[in-house]
């Protein structure tokens, strides 16, 4: 069996015990490679638990820049006895298995088609450190050292990272460097070289390495959010916590020391939604962030905000559903739940970012859209984007950018006698005007309610008033199509009758899959949906192809049903490609699924072609 040989294109997986401090060591490993100009794409696979259960860190090293999950492992760093067998099993034939051989293990515990790399980590640690905690922590640094030797990772880069991390804490710095070299030297002197190598390259460019949740939080800061009400839930908590951190940094008035923000950790998601509704009603840019279960709880308030037309922003970092589901796994399964949230006839605006950069952009834009459309705006991200570091275009901000506060009637306009009908469509776009509470002593006050009312916000049970309002809401929803981020179309080098639609975190795997398919001579045009309601260009794209694949990470083809529902397109044309087991979708999966389908379709079409001729 031939050992795997690869330069700047392989997958390393670390198997650890959670709470053992391995996370920072593993991240160090990934960053060092990044600093060598070689793109990496790491992913945490962690349990819903605080300490003691298995956790993995998968790093894809990819000079070509494929940031999706590849599938398959070339080098396993097996630091968790609990998962030994599974970890052995998962390795590719010819792959490398790095483990702690302090205690000898029977050969039955291994496979004979893999390459073993045993290192007495525990022994070395026990020899070197007295304190138990130190033994634990430095063991992690030590294997990073060993790997740096095996893979030719430049120590200089690692040490640079240390210096950045431990600025001012020299003692810590030194001990880490020491541990690093301890591991590195041992490997140099005792371990055979392997076929996987990292070679300095220039493939990273100006991209940044950041988690989607941090990016979204920063987007909220730049987008002008002043009120955040949230309730902790994985995988959204780190978004609210990042917002808090950024606000303490960038939103405290340097002169007076007062805060230009208010963050409430509410008692639950219902209260979070309620607070955001209250703040939005009162003219502040407000958001909440949550995950599936929170969306379910917010349903009543979402309906109120839709019907009473209150601007609010909800960032849903999706996880595996239904119910508590798989709290630490990723999915795109809240699409329907959000698009039609709450009882009665409702439709909501969804933004679908693909990576941290779009998490930043769309979160910032969400507040403009909420104010402009006076309705809930959902930003649908997921655990894969939100809680993993992802290489991404740098953030940009146009200094001259002003916030679009939408149609807010001022005291001056009211004073000037401008007619104010809170729920009246005066501009033909279905969007009414509003006033902030306290605007004018005698004009512009109105009573907001979740019940039916006439265009002047007076309670009404008349069918005509109700219909006027409901149809205006449809018109408003239609107006949203032009305001939301537009889809991105990519044409295949050769003209093709096939298309593919995808969105969100599926992007990197999709890009890679498309290239692979083209190498097999299978060509598809692609369209990445970035928001709902879908602009007509989505319908045009579908019309321009015989068959269109819709790739999503849920069981019930949720986005596909939105497409069918909103455009009245024949579903027969739309072939679902569904991946929903909780791990992020891979290029291999997409390639296989679409490839197979296209082969079949080819056959069919040729035969039907024959049939036609004969």
């Amino acid at each position: 069996m031939k050992p795997i040989e690869a330069i700047n294109d392989f997958v390393v997986k670390f198997a650890n015990v959670n709470g053992s401090g391995s996370a920072s060591a593993n991240e160090l490993f990934a960053k060092a490679i990044l600093r060598m100009g070689v793109p990496v794409s790491p992913r945490n696979i962690f349990p819903s638990n605080i300490q003691g259960l298995p956790t993995w860190y998968e790093v894809r090293v990819t000079e070509r820049g494929w940031l999706g999950r590849r599938g398959g492992i070339d080098l396993m760093v097996a630091m968790n006895p609990q998962t030994w067998d599974a970890d052995v099993k998962e390795l590719e034939p010819g792959g490398y298995f790095f483990y702690d051989n302090t205690r000898p293990l029977p050969s039955s515990k291994f496979r004979d088609d893999i390459n073993l790399i045993g290192m007495p980590l525990t022994a070395i640690c026990n020899r070197t450190y007295a304190d138990a905690r130190q033994r634990q922590l430095f063991k992690n640094i030590m294997y990073v050292g060993a790997l740096s030797a095996l893979l030719d990772i430049e120590t200089a880069e690692i040490e640079k990272l240390f210096t950045e991390q431990y600025k001012g804490k020299e003692k810590l710095l030194d001990s880490n460097v020491k541990a690093l070299h301890l591991g590195r030297d041992h490997a140099k002197n005792n371990l055979a070289p392997i076929g996987l190598k990292v070679k300095r390259a220039d493939a990273v460019g100006d991209r940044i390495f950041v988690e989607g949740n941090a990016a979204a939080a920063l987007g909220c800061v730049y987008g002008g959010a002043t009120v955040c009400a949230w309730y902790p839930i994985t995988p959204s908590s780190s978004l609210a916590e990042a917002f808090q951190k950024y606000c303490m940094k960038y939103r405290v008035d340097p002169d007076t020391g007062v805060n230009k923000f208010a963050i409430v950790q509410a008692e639950d998601e219902i209260a979070s939604a309620g607070m955001v509704v209250g703040a939005g009603w009162n003219g502040a840019r407000a958001f909440t962030t949550t995950s599936g279960p929170g969306i379910s709880l917010m349903n009543e308030f979402i309906g109120l905000a839709y019907f009473a037309e209150i601007p609010i922003t909800i960032i849903d970092v999706q996880r595996g559903g239904p119910s508590t589901g798989m709290p630490t796994r990723t999915q795109q399964s809240d699409v329907l739940a959000c698009a039609y949230a709450s009882h009665g006839d409702t439709k909501h605006v969804l933004l679908l970012p693909e990576d941290p950069r779009e998490c930043f952009d769309f979160s910032a834009q969400a507040f403009d859209l909420a104010d402009r459309l006076q309705t809930p705006i959902f930003v649908l991200t997921d655990l894969d984007i939100g809680m993993n570091h992802r290489l991404s275009k740098p953030f940009e901000w146009d200094e001259s950018r002003e916030y679009d506060r939408g149609k807010v009637m001022t005291a001056e306009e009211l004073e000037a006698g401008k007619d104010f009908g809170r729920y009246k469509d005066v501009d033909g776009d279905g969007i009414p005007w509003r006033t902030y509470p306290g605007t004018h002593p005698s004009k512009g006050a109105y009573f907001t309610r979740g019940t039916s009312r006439d265009p002047y916000a007076r309670y009404s049970e008349r069918g005509l008033d109700y219909m006027y309002n409901m149809e205006r809401l449809l018109k408003k929803f239609d107006s949203a199509k032009a305001l939301v981020p537009q889809p991105i179309v990519r044409h295949a080098p050769h003209k093709t009758r096939y298309g593919a639609i995808y969105y969100g975190s599926t992007s990197p795997a999709m890009d890679e899959a498309i290239v692979a398919l083209e190498e097999d001579g299978l060509h598809l045009d692609t369209l990445r949906v970035r928001a709902f309601p879908f602009p007509d260009s989505v319908a045009d794209f579908i019309a321009a192809h015989d068959k269109v694949f819709i790739v999503e990470q849920n069981r019930d083809a949720q986005l596909r049903s939105l497409v069918v529902n909103e455009f009245g397109i024949d579903p027969a044309k739309l072939i679902p490609v569904l991946h929903y087991e909780g791990a992020p979708i891979t290029a291999r999966f997409i390639g296989a699924a679409i490839g197979k389908e296209m082969q079949n379709l080819k056959v069919v079409s040729i035969e039907s072609g024959k049939a036609a001729r004969s």
Binding site: D206, I208, F209, V210, L218, V221, Y222, G223, T226, V227, A229, R251, D253, T256, G257, V258, N259, K260, F261, A262, I263, V264, E267, D268, I270, A271, G274, M275, V276, V277, G278, A279, G280, W281, N282, G283, A284, E300, F301, L304, P394, F395, E396, W397, E399, R401, E402, Y403, Y436, P437, G438, T439, P441, A445, Y446, F447, T448, R449, G450, T451
Partner: protein, 351 residues
């Protein structure tokens, strides 16, 4: 249909207050509540209190849940923005509104079903946070709007019009508010306007979470003899802990009766609540004593009314949060976005 506009509210003269507003300027739409509903009297008291305090009507935000009581904000302060939110969740909406603009006065109007049954969770947490608001529960022990089912404040063993008997022990909103650390706790009776008006005034002037439990009989479903929420019962068992006068900052204080039986509470803005003690035993500054007092009297079947507890130095949520005096809803992009240069720095830190 009762007309708040007429008899109940009007003083003989349509006098103007310091800001030149007449009571009419504090009224709202015509009430659609039942004739004789206690809630209408509370609306009248609110109007009176706001007029006497010279509040600018449009600087008040009225929030409510769902119910007959929660409809009332439509019937007073017609120049204020109002928000009839969803059932039981007004406290969170009010909290958010308050965070967005700390300059307005926040009036939360709710019912016992809205606040004690479905809403008890949000009630508890809004009080805990010290949201600066005046929170009035119009307490009739039933769900009026849905035709008379029991609320969580219904008497144990009382029988509904539909013949069902209530077996759950009732929630005592006042005891609860004290327990939760509300910094202003009072109870009033819709039938006793002279006592209620100054309570509302003091509550509005209080900085922090002011809670007023107002017994407000439902003539349609819970005014039968024996109901502790009926006019008759409360009139008979009303145990006023004190009578209070609210003295606004401007007015100088005229002492018009014997010393000793007076307690003056000076609030953060200098306004003074003057209590004429009716019970020596009782001290409005002592939370635990107040709880005791209320519990003991309650055990005797008495309905304790008056200002029961006040912490004049209370802090509100904005002070906790150290938020700017400039309302958050007033900042623009220049004030809120850290700018391009900072973003480039951030980018750099992420490489």
């Amino acid at each position: 249909m009762t007309y708040i506009a007429k008899p109940k509210l009007h003083h003989p003269t349509l006098g103007c207050n310091a800001r030149g507003f007449t009571r009419r300027d504090y009224e709202g739409k015509i009430s659609t509540l039942c004739a004789g509903c206690g809630h209408d009297s509370i609306s009248a008291a609110i109007i009176q209190a706001c007029w006497e305090l010279d509040i600018e009507p449009h600087r008040v935000a009225k929030l409510s849940g769902i119910g007959c009581s929660s409809k009332t904000p439509d019937y007073f302060l017609g120049q204020s923005h109002g928000f009839n939110t969803v059932h039981g969740r007004m406290p969170s909406v009010l909290t958010g509104a308050n965070l967005a603009n700390r300059e307005l006065l926040y009036l939360g109007v709710s019912g016992d079903g809205d606040s004690a049954s479905i809403g008890i969770g949000q009630f508890v947490h809004a009080i805990r946070r010290g949201v600066n608001m005046t929170y009035i529960v119009e307490n009739n022990g039933v769900y009026g709007l849905t035709k008379g089912q029991f609320s969580a404040t219904a008497d144990l063993g009382s029988k509904s019009k539909k013949g069902v008997t209530n077996t759950d022990s009732p929630l005592d909103m006042v005891g609860l508010a004290l327990q939760l650390g509300a910094s202003f706790v009072a109870r009033g009776f819709s039938g006793d306007k002279p006592q209620l008006v100054p309570i509302i005034k003091a509550a509005i002037k209080h900085k922090g979470a002011s809670f007023i439990d107002v017994i407000s009989p439902c003539v349609a479903f819970n005014n039968h003899p024996g109901s502790t929420k009926s006019y008759e019962y409360v009139r008979e068992h009303n145990e006023a802990a004190n009578r209070l006068d609210f003295i606004d900052v401007r007015a100088e204080i005229v002492v018009d009766y014997a010393e000793g039986e007076l307690v003056d509470v000076t609030q953060h803005d200098g306004s003074v609540v003057r209590l004429r003690k009716l019970h020596a035993s009782y001290d409005p500054h002592d939370r635990i004593a107040a709880m005791n007092y209320v519990h003991e009297r309650q055990a005797k079947g008495e309905v304790v009314t008056g200002l029961l507890y006040v912490d004049p130095d209370a802090q509100d949520l904005h002070e906790h949060f150290n938020t700017s005096d400039v309302p958050l809803n007033r900042f623009d992009a220049k004030a809120l976005s850290p700018g391009k240069a900072m973003l480039d720095k951030i980018n750099a830190s992420l490489r």
